[in-house]
Every structure is written in structure tokens, then in C-alpha cells.
């Protein structure tokens, strides 16, 4: 059933549009990379602050609140460009192990970011144990790094 969705997607008008010219896919991917830079910036800014490695003289709440704004914007751009790219290579991705690793990591990342990390950081950081903040930061960096790394590896496998 999942496979039929991928087959349908690749055969759709969107898939045809993406496949028509190599430059289309390449340009959308370049936008995907630029959004990745912004996501990386917001993740590193926020998590390095929680790890007390950067901007330690700025309140952590200020940093995390600001970072979250561009985290959301870049994530939306990544999801949209990602979906458009997928339509051009859907069946290849369906059969690729690293594509599914990326999707699992992405799901975990989104659930963690919005369901666990953001609600936690809306509270008073001073009331939280330092170890909690550090573990949350490490988990956040780990999961987004895995999304990016497995994403790149799709191109090198299958």
C-alpha cells in the first residue's frame, strides 16, 4: 500500500515536472540545502547554548525562543522541497534503506522537537536540572545530524 503511494507519486504531474529537466531537481535540492543551513544554524545556536558552549552571557530562554522561529520556517521549507524532490525519485527511494532511516529519524526529530523539547523550554530553564538540558541538546543535535547524514547517503547507495 505504501509502495503504491510512491509509484503513484512518481507518476503524478508533480513527478513528471521534477523529472522533465535535470536542472529542476538540482535547483530544488539547492534550496533544500540552504534551508538545511538555516535549520543547522537554529539547532546549533539553541543546543550549543543549552550545552553552555556559546553565548553564555545571554539568557538561554532568549536564545532558544529566537532559534525556534527559524527552526520552524526552515523545517517547512525542507519538508516541502523534500516532498517535491521525492516525487521525482519516489520508487528509487522506496527501495533505499537510507531513505527509510532518514524518514524514521525525521519523524523522531519532529516529535522530539515539538512534543518534548519545545514544551520543556517554554518553562523556566532555571528550574530544570542542567543534565536534562544537556541531554536534550545532545539528543537534538544527534537526531538532526542523522537526518542529514542518512539523507546524503541516499545518493551514494542503491
Amino acid at each position: 500500500m505504501i509502495e503504491s503511494f510512491f509509484v503513484w507519486l512518481e507518476g503524478s504531474a508533480l513527478g513528471a515536472f521534477v523529472k522533465d529537466q535535470a536542472a529542476t531537481f538540482a535547483t530544488i535540492e539547492a534550496v533544500h540545502l540552504m534551508a538545511l543551513a538555516v535549520l543547522g544554524g537554529s539547532v546549533f545556536l539553541s543546543d550549543l547554548r543549552l550545552l553552555n558552549l556559546v553565548m553564555t552571557d545571554v539568557p538561554s530562554r532568549t536564545v532558544t525562543d529566537n532559534a525556534h522561529k527559524y527552526f520552524k520556517i526552515s523545517l517547512i521549507v525542507l519538508l516541502v522541497t523534500g516532498f517535491v524532490m521525492l516525487s521525482g525519485v519516489a520508487t528509487k527511494c522506496y527501495h533505499n534503506f537510507y531513505y527509510w532511516v532518514k524518514m524514521a529519524a525525521l519523524a523522531a526529530g519532529i516529535l522530539f522537537a515539538f512534543g518534548v523539547r519545545a514544551p520543556l523550554l517554554r518553562g523556566d530553564h532555571a528550574l530544570l536540572r542542567p543534565i536534562t538540558l544537556k541531554l536534550v541538546a545532545i539528543a537534538s543535535i544527534s537526531v538532526w545530524f542523522l537526518v542529514a547524514a542518512s539523507g546524503r547517503w541516499i545518493g551514494f547507495s542503491g
Binding site: P119, D124, L127, L135
Partner: protein
């Protein structure tokens, strides 16, 4: 008081989720590196 209880719960959930993610990540990378080492042994002997 209720806000503090909510925060305490969120903190427990955060600790659990973070540890789970970090453990899963470590396991993933260990298996990947093991696979690479095996592949390199096959390729280069």
C-alpha cells in the same frame, strides 16, 4: 504550583526521550561502522 508539576513531568519525559534518542543513535552508528569495517576488509583484505 501546577505549572511546576507540569514542568517536572515534562522534564521526566524529556530525559527519557533524550536518552532513548542518544542510545538509538549510538547503536545505529556502531552498526554502520561495523558494516564499513567489514566492507573494507572484503575490498582490501
Amino acid at each position: 504550583m501546577n505549572e511546576e508539576r507540569k514542568l517536572a513531568t515534562r522534564e521526566k519525559v524529556a530525559l527519557g526521550a533524550s536518552i532513548a534518542i542518544v542510545v538509538a543513535t549510538v547503536v545505529y552508528w556502531i552498526t554502520q561502522i561495523a558494516g564499513v569495517i567489514e566492507m573494507l576488509k572484503l575490498a582490501y583484505g
